[in-house]
Point group: C2
Chain length 249, copies 2
């Protein structure tokens, strides 16, 4: 075990922060770490928007569905897939890059790039004693988020990241069994084994909640997932992406 | 500067590895670190397939376009977006999760989840003195990769990760200017500033290549990007994803 692995394994989402802002130096370190991540063919297809302005944070907190840690934190980042800069380059270099830029492949590249960068940012922040919470709720209302952040076409805000000094420390939720996530040589072909792993994990999660809530809650993971997935959320995404000229072609 | 930030900033892709395999313990540590990453609504929508078998690695190296570090490394991981397990859960729980699972939103969630996990794996590996190279070339021929790894429907191999003991140490390529990637309050609205940043970065990259190659190469970043993006690559992706029932609806 070394410091890096310790930091990684100690991750938990933090949703209550002290009333203390990050310094510009901290922000610069976090972003520089994000930028150090690998990037597909050196494309660097993402941007990060930092939000300090109180009114803007408040508005964002409303847009994501009244999560007050989006308003109250040390700093708020929004990670965006960004192929706008490559469109500008295409124009400047007078080359037709549009079919590439509008492809599903490049959309994937931008998402992967942005996510690798974000996870570097997270670990940098956590190594500085800060806590973080990813905010997927940014995607609840991307039209409004885009207006607020004034992002051009071909830039898609993907998720937020609230960072700050932790006020509380939550428990770590047990993950899926190692064997269920990690397959050797080929994907698990035995359906019985596969389902059995899920059932055992269901028990783990159920007793995790039972212990944590003093018996009030004991939902299984399968139940949780079924509940979540039965609701259709953010079904406007495809249309939104097309409208922003990342066409998933 | 702490060990975590140092490890993050010291990243470079490694394409030549010693002939020495990772131990099972190392693999377990790396995967456990991957699993510790945040996951959207606890969905854990990814799987990792580890490849040890020499013949299989050789075949993969061919499929990605004869990259011999896909064959010669300490271990090879394939990170996959995985909504198959959630489909199984839907069946077991008798709940209709399919519209969710086939949405563009959940495809994005799976990609982001897998990428956050991968970057944790990368940093864990690097902290152990190992080197890594992401292999997007996996997406050159996903039909064949899927057959080789026997992945079910709703599992999309996203990228490979070659890990091993570094034989060579490459330079670090300078990233886009901080100000060009990190915007405060809103995306850069001044087009002149934006383009000027790109031009200055072009100079940085051009002299980076010039120095590294003793003057043989001095392409600008814009040039590199225009060349890459003018070629249309992996344009079958949308069709492939639909065929695998992650329908981008």
């Amino acid at each position: 075990m070394n410091d890096v692995i310790e930091t990684i394994l100690d991750h938990r989402s933090i949703r209550h922060f002290e009333d203390r802002l990050l310094t510009d130096e901290q922000i610069k370190t976090i972003v520089s770490c994000a930028q150090a991540a690998a990037t597909s063919s050196f494309i660097q297809a993402y941007s990060i928007i930092g939000v300090k302005d109180k009114a803007k944070k408040k508005k964002l907190a409303e847009l994501v569905g009244n999560q007050d840690y989006v308003e109250k934190n040390g700093h708020f980042f929004v990670f965006c897939a960004d192929l706008y800069r490559h469109t500008v380059i295409g124009e400047n270099e007078q080359r037709d890059v549009i079919p590439s830029i509008e492809s599903t492949e490049k959309f994937m590249v931008a998402l992967i790039d942005a996510s690798l960068a974000a996870q570097n940012a997270v670990l940098a922040a956590e190594s500085l004693g800060l806590g973080i919470c990813y905010i997927g709720g940014i995607r609840n209302n991307l039209e409004e988020v885009k207006k607020l952040l004034k992002t051009p076409e071909r830039v898609i805000p993907l998720f937020g990241l609230a960072v700050g000094y932790p006020r509380q420390r939550t428990g770590k939720k047990p993950r899926l069994p190692f064997e269920h996530v990690y397959h050797e040589e080929e994907y698990e072909q035995n359906n019985e084994v596969y389902v059995q792993q899920l059932r055992e994990y269901d028990k783990v999660i159920s007793s995790y909640y039972e212990q944590r809530t003093g018996g009030k809650r004991k939902d299984r993971w399968s139940e949780q997932m079924a509940n979540m997935l039965e609701k259709q959320s953010r079904m406007y995404m495809k249309e939104f992406i097309s409208k922003n000229k990342m066409n998933l072609k």
